[in-house]
């Protein structure tokens, strides 16, 4: 179908003001902040309802036109770049919080609902509840984060955010709307058990199996007290010994670690950093909450006891620093304590490029992975920038190596591509698996994966999306 005719048909569905083929619009939707190759869509559309999404999908399926779902484009994996052109479906206008069910502790949201908006809604209208927030800009999509197995400040306790999904409403690539999870059989979107768990057909599939238009996610009680402490370690082994010990208590909401460049970027507001050999190499922040002061005192005392216990074993750690003290020096440090937060301290540098290789894997390989990857980063001239946390009660670990870079410098873009590839290979060697895998990383995973798993993946894809219209090029599909 000619582009003009396609635009006309789409305009009939959603109105011409929400269909754009403007060169500037296409340029913007063809890029993201990462090193991934840009690729231009033919058109961008902004539907406002499930019916409109359904009509767009039906038209695209009939005409075999690729569709790429988009909300904020901040997935740091090139996942919303339309690799094979076609239509970008920007779901930003669908930003309603449809239900906050306090009794059953879930909210039903549309794709455009951001962490900022959910936080404001809960704080203002449902103050007994909280959701979990990632270390990402405040205006990223709650739904995309959950569908892409993202993580948040409650992941140490509860795992990646797909585990918070109760139910989904999905527009399938052939245009049918289907309810998944409890929503399939109950008017309450309370969970995914005890039905066959079809949510897995859409989680981490990177939009290749349909467009999710509604999602119920769990919310949790907001406790009366909350505290954040920082504990610094002078080397990688001491750091993970501490993190592992704390994680095994399963007492803490969050135990997130960061390497020295992250800490110093925050304070120094510089990218070019060097480490004083006497400086801690890594730090951890521990969040804990409780309904009574006694509970809080116990959890705090436990951290101090762990530090002492490890000291007796020859592992040296700094006693805890309180975030409240840091905030007294500079109120900006509150950004370290309250999520969602603006990330100016992480992205405040020239060049406007930001990427990472994030991976989930065995906790037992954290030390080795960190040492190996730090060496890789240093080899390429990047500071060893790590964000890490134990996940789901210490059942696995996330290692996320971050590389800010100058996107206007093609040499540096090339270098960062090589760096990311080498980091992903190294992590896979150790048994870690990249998450939100960009197409090049997905290829690496598929090469090593069980061939029958790959075959099953393709069979499912072909069954759900016979015309292969959904976000082509992702997952090697």
């Amino acid at each position: 179908m000619e582009k003009a005719e396609l635009a006309r048909r789409l305009a009939e569905i959603i109105g011409s003001e929400y269909v754009s083929g403007d060169p500037d619009t296409l340029f913007i939707y063809s890029h993201d902040m990462t090193e991934n190759e840009p690729s231009e869509p033919d058109l961008v559309v902004m539907p406002d309802s499930v019916e409109e999404v359904q009509s767009i999908v039906r038209l695209a399926n009939e005409q075999r036109i690729p569709l790429t779902p988009f909300v904020a484009g901040a997935n740091v994996g090139g996942l919303a770049i339309p690799r094979e052109g076609g239509i970008v479906v920007d779901l930003k206008r669908m930003k309603r919080i449809l239900e906050v069910n306090e009794d059953n502790m879930y909210v039903i949201i549309e794709p455009g609902v951001t962490f900022g908006h959910l936080r404001a809604c809960l704080d203002n209208e449902h103050p007994r509840f909280r959701y979990a927030y990632p270390l990402s800009p405040p205006y990223t999509s709650v739904m995309c984060n959950a569908l892409l197995d993202g993580l948040t400040n409650l992941s140490t306790k509860h795992g990646d955010m797909s585990e918070w999904i109760n139910s989904l409403e999905v527009v399938l690539p052939t245009g049918e709307v289907v309810n998944i999870g409890a929503a399939a059989a109950s008017k309450y979107w309370f969970g995914r058990a005890p039905l066959p768990d079809l949510a897995g057909l859409f989680i981490s599939w990177q939009g290749t199996t349909g467009i999710v238009t509604k999602m119920a996610v769990q919310i949790c009680p907001k406790y009366k007290y909350r505290k954040r402490m920082f504990v610094m370690a002078y080397d990688i082994d001491s750091f993970f010994a501490f993190v592992r010990r704390c994680a095994w208590t399963q007492l803490y909401d969050d135990i997130a670690g960061f390497s020295w460049p992250a800490a110093k970027m925050m304070v120094a507001r510089r990218v070019k950093l060097t480490r004083d050999p006497d400086e801690p190499e890594l730090g951890a922040y521990l969040d804990f909450s409780g309904d009574t002061k006694k509970e809080m005192e116990f959890k705090e005392a436990m951290v101090r006891d762990i530090i002492k216990e490890l000291k007796d074993k020859g592992i040296e750690l700094e006693p805890p620093l309180l975030v409240d003290d840091l905030v007294k020096i500079n109120p900006d440090y509150l950004k370290l304590a309250e999520f969602p937060t603006t990330l100016d301290f992480l992205i405040d540098y020239g060049g406007g490029g930001f990427t990472w290789v994030g991976s989930y894997g065995p906790m037992s390989k954290s030390e080795e992975g960190t040492k190996k990857l730090f060496a890789v980063m240093e080899k390429y001239g990047f500071p060893p920038f790590l964000v890490t946390r134990p996940m789901k009660g210490a059942h696995y670990q996330v290692l996320r190596f971050i590389a800010p870079f100058d996107k206007s410098d093609q040499e540096q873009v090339k270098k960062v591509r090589e760096l990311c590839r080498e980091m992903a290979e190294s992590l896979l060697d150790l048994g870690f698996i990249p998450y939100k895998a960009p197409p090049w990383a997905a290829e690496l995973i598929l090469k090593r994966a069980d061939p029958n798993w790959v075959k099953l993946l393709k069979t499912i894809k072909n069954t759900l999306d016979p015309n292969r219209i959904m976000n082509p090029g992702k997952w090697g599909l």
Partner: protein
């Protein structure tokens, strides 16, 4: 003020993290253009990325749809406040540099805005009015003509308050206040020329420079100590943009600041009660761009009887009236819808009237009130003050 080459150095400083789109903490929209047109390219970050596309030769000013993105921006500066990166501090300057380049290349501004620039060239005002029309509002008033006699203070009325009959009351009230306080002041009458704000915002740097040079020379010839403006746009332009052209040997203040000073000096006092529930709309040019937030509020709050209420988005987080940056001429529907959102916000807090300190905001919000059939009254701060001192 940035030139295009300087602006280019900022194009790669934005990741499109989206922080410019909403007010942090409140999580309410901050960008009128983004709210109206929705696509990424209308937001601040989108325009910065358009800059990338232009710098890389992938986009062109010759594309009318690109001009639409550059000009459908009220230059309200809310994105500047929300963005916490260094580039955020320069967003509006970058947008204006892009517009200036569009004009330099012969493409800008938008068709609906061109008559403003032509009028400035022909009449030294953007409202296609002859020069003598500037004197109409002052009929019956005795004001020193500074082209003939000396005074310590120049009242620089501004094109909009002088030439829109709906707004003559702003100028008349200001004169009443100054006279009541015994201020030695005068004006320029038909010899007043536009401050150049409209030319600057639309990207006509050449005409802006002509007007600025003319005004700076004239102001300095007058030998006044103080220049008072009624218009937030004039105030921003003279205090923020003129320094790159030349130095004015006088203090420049907005009327709201001057009134507050008169109150402090006890040269003015409020005798009459004004029993109204009022809210204050921060003009972007006075608030976000020049950080004048407190004085208008202090003046309002010192008038007996006024029940002062704040809107949800206020001070640096204020929602723009929708009229600035050439939007009212170029995109009237967008301007009106934006004003209506502001009006709803004022209604939500139970205000009977919206007070502002900018004739441009006055025009646009008043238009919105009429279009929305709202019971709200649009009032300039000087009108309330003049009521309270009588």
């Amino acid at each position: 003020m940035l030139d295009y080459e300087e602006a280019k150095t900022w194009f790669y400083r934005c990741l499109r993290c989206g922080t410019c789109k909403y007010i942090f903490g409140l999580y309410l929209p901050s960008c009128p253009a983004g709210e109206m047109f929705s696509f990424e390219s209308y937001y601040s970050s989108g325009k910065l990325w358009i800059g990338r596309g232009l710098a890389e030769g992938k986009l062109s000013f010759a594309d009318p749809s690109l001009l639409q993105k550059l000009y459908a921006c009220t230059t309200c500066g809310s994105c500047q406040v929300q963005c916490s990166l260094p580039v955020g501090e320069h967003s509006v300057d970058i947008f204006e540099a892009l517009r200036a380049e569009a004009v330099r290349q012969g493409y800008g501004p938008m068709p609906g805005q061109k008559h403003l620039l032509e009028s400035i060239k022909n009449y030294d005002n953007p409202w296609v009015q002859p020069r003598q029309a500037r004197e109409r509002w002052a009929r019956g008033l005795e004001i020193k003509d500074l082209s003939k006699e000396k005074a310590r203070v120049l009242y620089y009325v501004g094109c909009t308050a002088e030439l829109d009959p709906q707004l003559h009351q702003i100028a008349r009230s200001t004169v009443e206040i100054l006279q009541r306080a015994g201020v030695d002041f005068g004006w320029l009458g038909r010899e007043e020329v536009c401050c150049g704000s409209v030319a600057m915002r639309l990207g006509d740097r050449e005409d802006f420079r002509r007007l600025a040079e003319n005004n700076i020379e004239r102001f300095n010839e007058l030998g006044v100590e103080t220049i008072i403006t009624s218009c937030a746009g004039c105030y921003k332009t003279i205090t923020q943009d003129y320094p790159s052209v030349g130095k004015i040997n006088a203090e420049v203040v907005h009327s709201s600041q001057f009134v507050q000073r008169l109150l402090q000096q006890k040269k003015l006092s409020f005798k009459k009660k004004v029993e109204l529930t009022l809210t204050y709309h921060d003009p972007c040019h006075l608030g976000r761009h020049r950080e004048v937030y407190d004085e208008p509020r202090q003046v309002l709050q010192s008038i007996k009887g006024i029940n002062f209420v704040e809107m949800r988005r206020t001070r640096e987080n204020s929602w723009c009236c929708g009229g600035g940056g050439g939007v009212r001429a170029g995109f009237p529907d967008f301007a009106q819808e934006t004003a209506i959102l502001r009006i709803k916000e004022a209604e939500e807090v139970g205000a009977e009237g919206v007070v502002s300190t900018c004739p441009f905001c006055f025009q646009n919000i008043a238009g919105g009130i009429a279009a929305a059939n709202s019971p709200l009254k649009m009032i300039d701060l000087t009108e309330i003050v003049s009521r309270a001192i009588r």
